[in-house]
């Protein structure tokens, strides 16, 4: 339609420059036009006094428009456009050879089939039109890129789509020849590591337009995709784990499906999930218990719905290191309290958490429980960092700040900040502000805001019905039942506790998990909150009698709420507490032959970062081959060492890191990586038209689909890139000008006739 009225297609107008080639000076034409139009308007304004004002304006405007159009045509407007010289230029044709091109989401045909249509043996109008104009250079790309002699070489088995690298390589390979542009045939489902914006910047600088041809559909008719999994890398055996999954769908909104969690093939949880209604993804949290030790591959899956084309994206896997180690927690109480006995009993059977309790029974008289040697805590609360930092967690009960020396208060704060330990502060008559902690280094580490005034007021006491916040409901440590709904119900049934500490606010960055209403306090009070502090975490549980949830008359005898809560709280407390050597692989799952980073954080026994250490990662492949990979200090961060390793085999790789300082081993650490097919091509596999349009727009190219591709050969010809000539294309004879002229004059005549004018 556009071409019918305007003679040329839009691309000509976009690419061309407007010029006027009138043999008569343009100013003279404009002057003549103004005079003629002026006469006409004057005639209506003065000569037709019997006419009303409105018809006179309309008739004048029509006359002026017609004359203006005529003047425009007489100026002989034309477009000057750069056009390639046939067969003098090269055109790079890049074809996506990745697995997603096998998806048959358009007319039940695989995306790759269109490539055969265009460039197959039988040839096509597209190929011949391009061949007539350009010397064609074909490339295939997926995770790698190479020249393509014939489309029959395409396998569509590439495991990744790296558009940026492909563009970069093509630009470099064709840098020495006159290049008219690049044409990329792809679905745009890019999952490469290279920066697309940097590649485009180079192309912009070289003036190479990139035309993109999108294959596939923007949105599948029916699809469920688990696009992301967020799980802890390492947890203690027997811990409750919360894993966040990002799920999106198309065509199945609102449908209820079962999410199945498998631990190395064994189903550990089935959770009903309602798919989100719109196109936006939703986050689903699933809780389960990890019971088997070792490096475990967890698989999260939703059964494919009928009619789903892409089924591979219904599952996602992650590797979790389940550790059967014992974490040590020091529990210090300033007075014998029920909480001591009930807490110890609640976690007595937990083989992965040992609670060493130190209770100040009288002034300077301490009782020890759960210690493993006669020397442990024999001198009371640790007064050296070495002694305190050997614990992974620290619980402070009802003990006043003035009990500690200034150095011990700093030490407790550093236990969290530097050592990365977990600090749990419990409510009590000598806790928080009531214990004089406001303004101390310990207060800095707390997630709650201490009100200095409350320390001076008469004792606060309130019975509180504890309820989880929306975040608390989803937190792994707050799960009291197998499902979140049951857990919420259980929270609602728990009897009231009491507190002696009024905490109204948490610090910025802290998270509240439990709150409660207290008599005489307008806003909900904080019951349980946490925050990251330095390398560690700090949790405050502002009650004095959590043991009620074991002992209370309303709690059934066989109820395990109290045990479950403490067990989960303490495991959360020590979860992720670093060892002197902590190892992190770049990803838990990698593609074979793709390099991955190994990062280690090395500290001494006092958890001070060591920069001059000799750190070596020994990687053992599934077939038992070991290779040493030296890790170098990153310089950017104290104590951080990094190296790179490329797995050559599929399967589980074990990474053992040993750090030495002055020849002595300061620590070891381990991590695991699963090398295998990540199936990345099936996630986010819809045609990414926005990305493709953006690539074209930023480089001066155009975006096409199979419906519009027929104009590509001619469009690509209009470019200044390569060897080109400038063509002049007349606009004065565009049909639209004639049509408008007739329309204006005809309208004026009809209007005059209606008003009875000659």
């Amino acid at each position: 339609m556009f071409e019918f009225f305007f003679k040329y297609r839009p691309v000509v107008f976009r690419q061309g420059d407007l010029v006027f080639q009138s043999p008569i000076p343009v100013w003279l034409l404009v002057l003549g036009g103004v005079i003629i139009a002026g006469v006409g308007v004057w005639g209506y304004a003065r000569g037709r006094r019997n006419l009303e004002r409105r018809p006179r304006i309309i008739l004048g405007a029509l006359r002026v428009s017609a004359i203006a159009l005529l003047v425009f045509a007489l100026t002989r407007p034309m477009l000057v456009i750069a056009t390639i010289v046939p067969q003098q230029n090269f055109l790079g044709v890049l074809v996506d050879d990745s697995r997603s091109m096998g998806i048959a989401d358009r007319d039940d045909r695989p995306r790759g089939a269109y490539i055969n249509d265009y460039f197959g043996e039988d040839g096509s109008a597209l190929l011949s039109a391009l061949s007539d104009r350009f010397k064609l250079r074909f490339f295939r790309f997926s995770e790698t890129m190479g020249r393509l002699g014939d489309v029959s070489e395409l396998t569509f088995q590439g495991t990744r789509t790296d558009v940026a690298s492909a563009l970069d390589r093509a630009r470099l390979e064709l840098a020495a020849v006159p290049l008219a542009g690049l044409v990329v045939f792809t679905d745009g489902a890019d999952n490469g590591d290279a920066s697309l914006s940097e590649a485009l910047l180079q192309l912009q600088a070289d003036g190479v337009p990139v035309h993109t041809v999108g294959l596939g559909v923007d949105r599948f008719d029916k699809d469920i995709e688990i696009s992301r999994v967020e799980a802890p890398r390492r947890v203690l055996q027997g811990s409750a784990v919360a894993v966040d999954l990002t799920i999106k769908q198309s065509g199945l909104g609102g449908r209820s499906v079962d999410l199945v969690v498998e631990d190395e093939g064994r189903i550990v949880k089935t959770q009903p999930v309602e798919l989100p209604g719109g196109s936006e993804p939703t986050t689903v949290r699933v809780h389960f218990t990890v019971s088997e030790e070792g490096s475990r591959l967890f698989r999260f899956g939703i059964a494919p719905a009928e009619g789903e084309i892409v089924r591979e994206n219904n599952v996602l896997e992650t590797l979790i290191q389940v550790e059967d180690v014992q974490r040590d927690v020091l529990y210090f109480e300033g007075e014998p309290r029920w909480e001591v006995g009930f807490l110890r009993r609640a976690v007595a059977d937990d083989e992965n958490v040992r609670v060493a309790a130190l209770v100040r029974a009288a002034e300077n008289k301490f009782s020890r429980y759960g210690v493993t040697s006669p020397d442990e805590l024999a001198a009371g609360f640790p007064d050296t960092r070495e002694e305190l930092f050997q614990y992974d967690g620290l619980i402070l009960g009802s003990v006043e700040a003035s009990f500690f020396t200034a150095d011990q208060l700093r030490m407790i704060s550093e236990f969290v900040e530097v050592r990365g330990g977990g600090l749990l502060t419990l409510g009590g008559r000598l806790s928080f502000a009531e214990g004089g902690y406001a303004g101390t280094p310990v207060a800095d580490a707390l997630p709650v805001v201490l009100d200095r005034r409350s320390g001076d007021s008469s004792r606060f006491f309130a019975e509180i019905e504890v309820r989880p916040t929306p975040f608390g409901l989803t937190h792994a440590a707050m799960q009291l039942a197998p499902s979140q709904e049951e857990s919420q119900e259980r929270w609602g049934e728990l009897p009231a506790l009491s507190t002696l500490n009024l905490i109204r606010d948490v610090k910025p960055g802290a998270t509240t998990l439990l709150t409660a209403r207290a008599d005489g306090v307008s806003d909900p009070v904080v019951v349980l909150a946490s925050q990251r502090y330095g390398r560690g975490k700090s949790i405050s549980f502002v009650v004095q009698d959590a043991w009620f949830w074991q002992m209370h008359a309303d709690i059934p005898l066989d109820d395990l709420t109290h045990e479950t809560l403490w067990r989960q709280l303490l495991r959360w407390l020590v979860d992720g507490v670093p060892n002197p050597v902590s190892v992190v692989a770049g990803a838990d799952r990698v593609s074979p032959d793709a390099p991955m980073t190994v990062t280690a954080e090395v500290t001494d026994s006092g958890f001070i970062q060591l920069n001059g250490a000799e750190v070596v990662a020994t990687v053992t492949t599934p077939s038992g081959i070991s290779q040493d990979v030296p890790l170098e200090w990153t310089v950017e961060k104290d104590g951080e060492y990094r190296g790179s390793y490329t797995p050559a085999e599929k399967g589980r790789h074990e990474i053992d890191v040993t750090a030495r300082y002055d020849g002595a081993v300061v620590g070891t650490g381990e991590a695991h990586v699963e090398a295998g097919d990540l199936g990345a091509e099936f996630y986010g596999a819809e045609m990414q038209s926005d990305v493709l349009k953006s690539i074209a727009a930023e480089t001066g190219g155009q975006f096409y689909t199979p419906e519009t591709i027929s104009t590509l050969p001619e469009d690509v010809s209009f470019t200044e890139s390569g060897t080109s000539v400038f063509e002049e294309r007349d606009l004065w004879d565009m049909p639209i000008i004639f049509v408008l002229l007739v329309a204006f004059m005809g309208a004026e005549w009809i209007y005059r006739r209606q008003r009875g004018l000659p």
Binding site: G334, E335, P336, R337, W338, V340, G341, F342, R344, R345, A357, V359, R360, A361, A362, E363, N364, K365, S367, Y369, R429, F461, S498, L500, Q544, D545, W547, F548, Q550, M551, H552, A553, D554, I555, L557
Partner: protein
């Protein structure tokens, strides 16, 4: 350290003797109404002494109307003990006093140490038995005191009813309960006698799975009456040494129960 504590405790004994307590010595079974719970302290999280009330046995073995064997030494025994606990330990006992509940009262679950006086007269109906069993299995700790001689038979029968799989195990001085706060040695324990009958005391423990190294449900002071010693500690009727040891036992029991 122990000497210092012993000296402190002696001083406190003297102090107690000087304090005029509001309640005077009361004969068992007389002097207070059935609404004794009106005197109960409100729960506030602090340690509060709980005395269990029961209907004593009749001469024919059946239950009779409520008498007050259970109340022997009340209220001065617990009042004196609370003073000692406050003076000698970091525990802050409930300033409002102690509590008394029937064994089937759900309020007992707020007070995880329960004192049962004169278990030779102890009886339970079905509700009391069920509630008290739940109390113990959940984590409540029982202290049996003030009985001797043939009173053992009623105690044994009732404890077998309450905890059918559990039988009392004789304790010696190596058990941690005798070292929870004060170190009470074997000699002291062996020399312990009933403050009125002067017969050698015996100490028994009630254990989960009858494992003497395991979780303890309660302690039994047989041929003993430490409550008597607590009650009269301000009057000098009981020898000071014996009173002193009775307080040591009481404090050890409380500290042990709170931390185990």
């Amino acid at each position: 350290m122990m000497k210092a504590l012993a000296v402190t405790s002696m001083l406190v004994l003297v102090a107690l003797a000087a304090v005029a307590l509001p309640a005077q010595a009361q004969r068992r079974g007389a002097g207070f109404s059935r609404n004794v719970q009106d005197y109960n302290a409100e729960y506030n999280g602090s340690f509060t002494f709980l005395r269990l009330r029961y209907a004593p046995l009749s001469a024919w073995g059946g239950r009779r109307s409520r008498e007050a064997e259970w109340a022997h030494d009340w209220p001065r025994a617990e009042q004196h003990l609370a003073v000692m606990i406050e003076e000698l330990t970091t525990i802050e006992p409930n300033a409002d006093g102690s509590t008394i509940f029937d064994a089937d009262d759900p309020e007992i679950f707020k007070f995880p140490v329960a004192y049962i006086s004169e278990p030779g007269f102890w009886s339970m109906d079905d509700d009391e038995e069920r509630t008290l069993r739940e109390y113990v299995l959940k984590g409540g700790f029982l202290i049996f005191d003030d009985f001797a001689g043939s009173h053992w038979y009623n105690f044994e029968e009732k404890i077998t009813t309450l905890l059918p799989e559990v039988y009392p195990l004789r304790l010696d001085a190596t058990h941690p309960i005798f070292h929870a706060f004060y170190d009470i040695d074997a000699e002291t324990l062996d020399e312990f006698v009933h403050p009125l009958q002067w017969i050698p005391s015996e100490f028994y423990g009630l254990f989960e799975n009858n494992d003497p190294d395991g979780y303890m449900y309660g302690i039994v002071n047989y041929n003993n009456d430490i409550g008597e010693a607590w009650e009269w500690s301000d009057q000098g009727w009981i020898p000071v040494d014996l009173t002193n040891e009775a307080y040591k036992l009481g404090i050890n029991y409380i500290v042990y129960a709170m931390t185990h």
